[in-house]
């Protein structure tokens, strides 16, 4: 594993930092207050090719490796985690699922407009009764003639109300556990498919989170994604990529916390000197920096494994678990270092603090990551 980034990777980081400073930061505090989805910025990122990062050129994407992908997500999350979440759900869940398990016909039909960012993709697993316990999903899909009929509800779905294409997991065999789940591609506008509640959230407020409702929603038989009843194993594999994305996002948030805290602590004077002269502050900064580097290494290791074509359930979960907890700790420290100002909306760390929490919940809570890791260890 190469530790030095390539010229292309460094250029990408620089480009995204530049883009973020000029296009993302202006108006960010107001957008966060309003919970406004940043369409203009997403379109800008689409023009740069960031909506099809993991998809080969043949399907309208760019086809970079997971390591480069992780660097891009980190860089965006450094400034705006909501945007990173939008891209992460689109790229490493939705599009990767279709690319990895779709038929040639499905890939040719669905991927190009998604990879070009003309349409958004959502990935819907969670249900009111099935969060950590994904096997408890109750949404059903029953084959009738040349159609699949979907019934059920999905909750907390990222870009749920905006996506034109949704990958939806449903039960196709009630009598079996793991071997009774399948995935489907559902397009917006299909009769029987509607968007329910749009959530008001603590953080990640500029990312769209919504409920999806399926009432006798009939989709073509060809929209079955992957193998029938094998959906669970497939979605676990997709989640490995997703967790790399979420880990990178957490590293980005944590880095934002550190950079803001460093800057502030050099300028802020109390007791006649910059507060960065106090050891109490220095140690917080030190811990943040060290943990962030460690978290990034874990994320990169999982990404590297994925790029070698290897499975990485253990490493992806370790990266996601550790990075998300690092992000939360970094956010707590950053707010602390900024004192009263850190508690105020004008300071970015207040937003990072709220955004960071999602990383410990989405794509499997910290407890679920520990469950996955312990299962791998005790195999």
């Amino acid at each position: 594993m190469e530790l030095e980034l390539t010229e292309e990777q460094k250029l990408l980081q620089k480009t995204l930092r530049d883009f973020a400073q000029k296009e993302i930061l202006p108006g960010i505090i107001e957008r966060d207050k309003q919970g406004e989805f940043p369409w203009r910025i997403i379109q800008g990122l689409a023009r740069l090719g960031l909506m099809g990062m993991l998809i080969p050129e043949a399907y309208g994407g760019i086809g970079v490796d997971h390591l480069t992908y992780a660097l891009a997500i980190e860089e965006l999350a450094r400034f705006d985690a909501s945007i990173a979440l939008t891209l992460s759900a689109h790229n490493s869940l939705g599009l990767s699922h279709i690319y990895k398990f779709g038929t040639e016909e499905q890939k040719g039909r669905f991927l190009p407009p998604l990879a070009r960012g003309e349409r958004l993709c959502a990935w819907a697993l969670t249900e009111p009764q099935a969060g950590s316990d994904a096997l408890a999903i109750e949404t059903t899909a029953i084959q009738k003639g040349d159609k699949w009929i979907l019934n059920g509800r999905k909750v907390f779905i990222t870009q749920g109300s905006l996506a034109e294409v949704c990958v939806v997991m449903a039960r196709t065999d009630k009598s079996r556990g793991k071997e009774g789940i399948s995935s489907f591609i559902v397009e917006k506008g299909t009769a029987g498919f509607s968007v329910g509640k749009r959530e008001e959230k603590l953080g990640m407020r500029c990312s769209d989170t919504a409920e999806l409702i399926f009432e006798d929603c009939a989709i073509p038989k060809d929209n079955l994604l992957g193998r029938v009843n094998e959906g669970y194993a497939e979605l676990l594999e997709v989640l490995e990529g997703g967790r790399i994305g979420m880990g990178a996002m957490a590293v980005g948030i944590a880095r934002g916390c550190l950079e803001e805290a460093l800057m502030y602590s050099k300028q802020r004077k109390q007791f006649g000197k910059p507060i960065c002269d106090f050891q109490a502050i220095q140690w917080m900064l030190t811990d943040m920096a060290t943990e962030i580097d460690a978290a990034r290494m874990l994320v990169h290791k999982a990404a590297w494994l994925k790029d070698q074509g290897k499975r990485c359930p253990l490493e992806a979960s370790q990266a996601k678990l550790f990075a998300s907890e690092v992000a939360m700790r970094a956010a707590i420290k950053a707010v602390q270092i900024l004192g009263g100002y850190g508690y105020m909306k004008e300071c970015h760390v207040e937003r990072y603090f709220r955004d960071a929490k999602l990383c410990e919940i989405g794509e499997g809570t910290s407890e679920v990551q520990r469950l996955v890791i312990s299962r791998e260890l005790l195999k």
Binding site: K10, L11, L48, I62
Partner: protein, 261 residues
């Protein structure tokens, strides 16, 4: 149309450089480097002309140390077709004449219809290399342009902002123009652009092979002796009280402390 764009790598304005006693007279540790912002307008304009015409080639050229490769790679990622890197330490006895001389040596054997530069580099703010290059190549030049159109008959029409108005000038090609803010809105490098940059032709030319010692190195016409920061401004004085007392305090302050009356 063959377009040459001259670019320079400069410290980002985000970081404040500190002076240092030895060449390059600024402490470069911890600085981040970018393409000179005015050169970004030049690159963008070249790419737009090429895109409009549907043919042609954009060559970016820089004089700079090894690390200036990053700037050229950035330009290739934006869409330039080839890069020429004149390797030389820009700070070691390089004045704008020497820069122009080296650029001229590197450019003159190549086909070109148009040369674009930034109006100045934001680091030393000389604003001279571009126009000196035009003189050395013996081609027309217009500095600080905000609009450019080229036609098939080989003419260029440019706009430049002058005090209180706009000047419209016409000249035959080949010509050199230096670009000002307002000319266009530069794009960002796209991910495919970034991934393709490394596969494009990248020529390395050592500066020492291009110019004799009278121009380059110890023979430079102008050399930097020292760089210093502006003195920091003193904190202002705030007068507070009723209007009558403030006037009295002000007069006293101006007389006794500022001593201008």
């Amino acid at each position: 149309m063959n377009i040459v764009v001259c670019i320079k790598q400069v410290p980002s304005t985000e970081t404040a450089p500190r002076p240092s006693p030895r060449p390059p007279f600024i402490d470069t540790t911890g600085l981040s480097w970018v393409i000179n912002p005015f050169d970004e307008y030049a690159i963008e304009e070249a790419l737009r002309i090429k895109e409009r015409q549907g043919k042609g080639e954009v060559t970016v050229i820089t004089l700079g140390p090894e690390s200036a490769r990053e700037a050229l790679m950035g330009a290739l990622a934006l869409g330039a077709d080839r890069a020429v890197h004149i390797i030389g330490e820009t700070h070691l006895g390089i004045d704008s004449y020497a820069t122009a001389y080296l650029l001229c040596q590197a450019i003159k054997g190549r086909p070109f219809d148009l040369i674009l530069c930034g109006k100045e580099a934001v680091d030393d703010q000389n604003g001279a290399a571009g126009i000196q290059l035009a003189e050395l190549l013996d081609i027309p030049h217009v500095a600080v342009i905000t609009r450019l159109s080229v036609d098939a008959s080989g003419k260029a029409v440019v706009h430049r902002q002058i005090e209180g108005g706009t000047e419209v000038l016409e000249c035959p090609l080949p010509a050199l123009f230096t670009c000002q803010k307002g000319l266009n809105e530069p794009r960002y490098p796209s991910l495919p652009g970034i991934m393709k940059a490394k596969k494009k032709p990248y020529e390395v030319v050592p500066a020492t092979g291009l110019a004799p010692q009278e121009v380059w190195g110890p023979g430079a016409r102008v050399s930097v002796k020292e760089v210093s920061l502006l003195p920091t401004r003193k904190v202002g004085k705030k007068l507070q009280a009723g209007a009558a007392e403030m006037v009295e305090d002000l007069v006293k302050f101006v007389r006794e402390e500022v001593r201008i009356i």
